[in-house]
Symmetry: C2
Subunit: 415 residues, 2 copies
């Protein structure tokens, strides 16, 4: 990425590709990048998604470059005919496309590492706007590049999330950080188990007051993220401390973390620190609780075993749930949730046994046990705790809410 | 949604919320909606994401409404102070906000169903632009609405994906379909096991030729979706049939479906039809294979059991992997993958036993078994098949690619 002098304060993100604008693929890069840029004092003011035509990319790049200091373009630098970001940005910068020797070397090196030969179309990937600086791609075949358009720096990266993210971490963020003159301080407060409307009422005065500090709130399947930011000087930090202390009081024990981390990350870290372990027996969540733990690097020290016991036969065979419990109370019941949690704990020797059983829908609901009903349990040496919840939304939503509610139950048991 | 006469041909999507523009939450609604609108002949030409300020929402709505027939706004109609879409669209339409009796009734009915009392801030949700039509929210507390801005119809829906989607399905799509005069025909071809660049070379001539048919390609963790669309008349269908036949030949047995479905949906449908079952033993994927199956309604007839055996002790205890195999070949090896698949099949009596073992990273790689190495196996009565793959990207990427590669291995065994 080319170096410059003035700090970057505003950025816009341009995601390109028919697959995005037509909806076959979800743009997850922009949101992730916006989150990474904010602690560096860069405010993302707009995200645009356009197709992969040359003109829409060129026009959006020119328009956004006139408005912000940094435009990050994701996508359209792959090997195929419909990858037109290189050409569009060359047009926008008013320069021609030339074969870049360094880009050529990087494409060749990528295929050599995998023991493969580049396909002829991969050669396209080494043509960059004249004057562009190559950004190495440590993960895939497409090199990125940066080019000046007007007073803005425009950085083009691959759309594939793993490549986009690797290159942002290795090249873009260090470059932005190096240009930053004025530090920004951020506080995160993560809240679980309160509806958005209630969190809004408890902390509303900070969100409607004119900044600084700038306080924003976001919600995702039962977790509310509150983010407060201010200048990194003594006055800014003092304002943030005051604000954070007030928010902490308002949110009480629903606050689970003051870091930018997921509930599963917090639990894995804390369990590992204590030398404790978990084992999971899942019915309605069908693997998502185990997946939430194993998504965290280092979870192999913590998750002893996960059992997806979707059928009654599996509940009996693997976890010794009794036929009597199933017949008398039904698979979706407090009794079965408790047996699952206790038996998976006993079977594996884990510190905590966790379980879910419920009706995720769309079918399977009854008057007594409607779709959205879930029973969750956490068993430990001390006791087995249970909660029943009625969760909103479709199958996916019920399953995701159930994962968060179960992790929160474990968090409360660990206190 | 208000009725009108002319068919809708173009649409723009406006996702609002600081959480989106700042990246705390990913906008998945826009992509999903674009995908639903396309078979109805509506082309999404732009997606914009702005913060939750009144002016950015109002300005974007006015600008987009001047350009397309339908603007769908997602977000900003919740109960809190920072939900400003109602006010922004009233300003954009040049009308005032008024309490809507029907919206009020729907908010009250929602809370009654859950046996809760609306919080005072929920009352905000019944204030709509004068002249707006309420869109019922079958899932959550926030009613949607539609309002005319210039010649465009602007529809405001909640940002929460389960609510957004439920309301699009129940209200928006039927309304768009009713206005459509000219049918559109779509063919889907879904491809697994070929890199994007190779698919692009094989079908490139259809993608670069001027439409119709309009052929586009999208890629997501090892699956390439090809979508071809044309007019729904005899000539259009004939062109599509010719195109699809040629693409089928070019893509061969990498083609897994001609519906808009996931690989897991295809497998659950086909296994259920045959009365066959699967059981899963997962190491590196840590629950994601089970979660992919259980994400599909009806999978309880198909998935007998899933075992997340992340640790060596779990592999031995639950699936009888021998200490000798682990010591001699390592947990990430063909031998262990085969033992896991065969033993989970034997243990559960499933038709197919599936397994994964690998190094998802970021740590745990060695020179002999670098990060990204995965061994996958499928055991059946007939034989156990195995593939070793070296998968690209970060932990998340390796895990997702591994799920798709394993499902593809099962698909090939089922032929």
């Amino acid at each position: 990425v080319t170096a410059g002098l003035a700090p970057i304060r505003t950025a816009a993100l341009l995601a390109t590709g028919e697959e995005l604008v037509r909806g076959a693929v979800v743009d997850t890069n922009s949101a992730w990048l916006a989150r990474k840029l904010r602690p560096l004092g860069v405010e993302v003011v707009e995200v645009r998604v356009v197709g992969d035509g040359l003109a829409p990319i060129r026009d959006a790049a020119v328009e956004l470059a006139a408005r912000v200091g940094l435009v990050v373009v994701g996508g359209g630098i792959g090997p195929t005919e419909d990858d037109r970001t290189r050409e569009a940005l060359a047009n926008a910068a008013g320069v021609e496309l030339v074969v870049d020797a360094e880009a050529q070397r990087q494409v060749a090196a990528f295929f050599a590492r995998l023991g493969r030969t580049p396909s002829p179309s991969n050669a396209r990937q080494a043509s960059l706007p004249r004057g562009a600086t190559v950004v190495e791609n440590p993960v895939g075949s497409a090199p990125g590049f940066s080019v000046a358009i007007g007073r803005a720096t425009v950085v083009a990266l691959p759309g594939v999330p793993s490549e986009f993210r690797a290159m942002v971490e290795s090249a873009l963020l260090p470059w932005v950080a190096a240009r930053r003159s004025e530090p920004v301080e951020t506080r995160f407060l993560q809240v679980v188990g309160l509806p958005e409307s209630v969190v809004g009422e408890r902390i509303g005065r900070w969100m409607t007051a004119p900044p600084p500090p700038l306080v924003s709130m976001t919600v995702e399947f039962g977790v509310v993220h509150v983010c407060a930011s201010d200048r990194g000087d003594a006055a800014g930090r003092a304002r943030l401390d005051r604000c954070a202390a007030e928010l902490r009081t308002a949110l009480g024990d629903h606050l689970f973390s003051d870091r930018d981390e997921t509930l599963a990350q917090l639990l894995v870290r804390e369990l590992a620190r204590r030398g404790q372990t978990v084992a999971v027996a899942e019915s309605c969540t069908g693997g998502l609780v185990s997946a939430a733990f194993t998504d965290v690097p280092g979870s192999s020290d913590v998750l002893l075993e996960g059992c997806v016991v979707y059928t009654e036969a599996a509940k009996r065979r693997t976890l010794g749930v009794t036929e009597e419990s199933l017949a008398r109370h039904g698979a979706v019941s407090e009794v079965v949730a408790r047996e699952l949690a206790e038996n998976v704990r006993r079977r594996t020797g884990a510190t905590f046994g966790l379980s879910t059983t419920g009706v995720a829908g769309p079918s399977g609901g009854t008057a007594a046990t409607p779709v959205g009903t879930v029973h969750l349990a956490v068993a430990s040496e001390r006791a087995t705790v249970h909660v029943a919840r009625r969760l909103p939304g479709d199958r996916d939503s019920v399953r995701r809410f159930a994962v968060v509610a179960l992790l929160d139950l474990l968090r409360r048991e660990m206190r």
